[in-house]
Structures are given as C-alpha cells and as structure tokens.
Amino acid sequence: MKICLVCSYGGHLAEMLRLTEAFEGHRIFLITYKERYTMALDDISKVYLIPRLIPNFSFKYLSRFLLLANMIITAVGELFMLLKERPHVIVSTGAEIAIPICYLAKFLRKKVVFIESICRINEPSGSAKIIYPVADLFLVQWESLLNKFPKARYSGRIM
C-alpha cells in the first residue's frame, strides 16, 4: 500500500512520528509545512514541504486572509502530490494542512484516516470537525470526545 502521511509541524508532527510503526512494510511519504522544527525525519524517505504563510509569533495575529491564501497553495500542491504519488490512503494528525488533501482524496475514492490531537480532551479541533465527514477511520485519543463524533473510535493514544 502507498500511504500519504499529512500533518502540520510541531506537535502534530510529533504525534505522527509516534505512529509510523503502524505503516512499516508499506511505502510512505509525508507532507508537512516548511518550518523550523526539531524533529528528526530520517525514518521517512520522502518528504514534501509546503510553504507556510501564517505568522507563528502569536495566535492573536492569525490572519484570515493569509490562512485562505495558504489553503489555496496547499490545495494546489496536494493535488499535484496526489496525482503524482497515487496513495491508497491518507493518514493525518491534523491540522488545517490536511483539509484540502482529505477532501481531494475522498473525491478520488481514497481512504482517509484522521487522528485527533492528544491535546484535545473535551473540545475538538477545527480541522477534526472539518475532516470528520470524509474520514473513513476517525480516531480520538480521549474517550471524552466520543460523544462529539458518533462514528469516532477510541483505540489508545500516543502516550
């Protein structure tokens, strides 16, 4: 199987790297943001980096315009990656970087797996709510979130 892993950088990427053992024996590639971070990606042979326009210095300055522009760039890039790599399944730990590819993948009849962040105990993330309708497997890491997502499953968590 060819598996596309897609996640934002920082915590989302840290969570994804705790799960890569699940994909051993399959061909994988990762899509994440082009940002400075400390995680080692040595175990993943193919990594695609998408530019990130959203300023990171403070959440107060999250600009909706930049977010929209970033989503368009992400969608175009991810469509290209989908057509080039032809994965069978998309696996994501969030966040907004995964939204375009999950919908594109659903349109192209691929399977979509979403794992909500371990940091979300009672309140789901925005990307989880948006991706939920197209997820074939939707996992939450705390049972308290099961009542927010009827088709979700709880099957453990990264720690």
Binding site: M1, G11, A22, T38, F59, K60, I115, L139, S155, R157
Partner: protein, 169 residues
C-alpha cells in the same frame, strides 16, 4: 542545568520568568525559545535546535521546563528526566482556543510524572523540588493506537488484494 524548551511557537510569559530565575540562580540555564521575541539576558538560548542537540541538552539537564506540548513532554519522559510543564493559556493570548491546562491534568491523572504549573510564580519552588526517580514513559497506550492503525491498513490491503483477485476471475 535547567533546560527550557517551548517548541515551535512563542511563549514570552515563560521565557521572561525563566530568564529572571536564571539571573538569580547559580545553576546553568539553557533555553530553546522558538518564535518568542523576548531575548534572554541571563541564559544561553537558541531559537531552534535540531533533534540530536535537543536530546543532548535534555540528557545533561537536571530538570526540563516546557510548554504543554505532547512532543516535548514525551521526549523528556522517554529520557527519564523530571518535567515541569506550563500550559499555554488563551487569556494571555498564548492560544486561540480555550484551555485551562486540561491536557496536563489528564496526563497526571493517568499517572505520568509531570509537575504542572498554572501560576508562573510557582516555578521557582518546583525547580527546587524535582524528583527524577519515577520519570519514564509507558508505551502501552501507544501500542494500542499503533495496533489499531496497523489492523486498519492490513484490512484495506486485504480488500485491495481481494478486489484484484475478483477482477481477474
């Protein structure tokens, strides 16, 4: 040595407090400050570190102070060091969603050896009273999740093979 890491964002409330503490203590303080604009005056600092250097600093530290980030906490506990976690809070503009440190509370309820700081003034006392004897990371929960994903992927593979065989008949 006290090592401070705040991940990829900005956390001026914690960095300024740790800089103040670094100015009072004889103990060496090293900080990874991410996108924080405040520049420490009393401690060695880096904006970002590669993974090997991060692990090296954690190994050499007596205690690690970090934000409530899963990645940082996992790395520190795996290396068997005491961790003091400071949740980022919406009321200080540190997050765009409501958070009162539930994540850290849940981890502690699950038995993880983390010291949580909700009032930044409590850090100094916490730094004095660290205990490294019980710092480790259980992998039971992680194995369950990995197993669930593996099973799903294997199921998909069987369906794929099944459909090829069906098509070729």
């Amino acid at each position: 040595m006290i090592f401070v890491t705040i991940g990829t964002g900005a956390f001026p409330r914690l960095i300024t407090k740790m800089d103040e503490i670094a100015g009072k203590t004889n103990e060496n303080v090293v900080m990874q400050i991410g996108c924080t604009k405040y520049i420490p005056q009393n401690a060695e600092y880096f904006e970002f570190l590669n993974f090997e250097d991060m692990v090296d600093f954690i190994r050499k530290s007596r205690v690690v102070v970090c934000h409530d980030g899963a990645g940082s906490i996992m790395t520190v506990l795996q290396l068997g060091k005491p961790v003091i976690a400071v949740p980022r809070l919406k009321r200080y503009g540190e997050l765009f969603y409501e958070n009162s440190g539930e994540f850290i509370k849940e981890l502690i309820d699950q038995g993880l050896t983390i010291k949580a700081i909700y009032d930044i003034g409590d850090i100094e006392a916490a730094l004095r009273n660290t205990d490294s004897t019980a710092c480790y990371l259980d992998t039971e929960n992680q194995k369950k999740l990995v197993s669930a994903l593996k099973e799903y992927i294997n199921q998909l593979q069987k369906q794929k093979v099944g459909s090829y065989q069906g098509a070729s008949k």
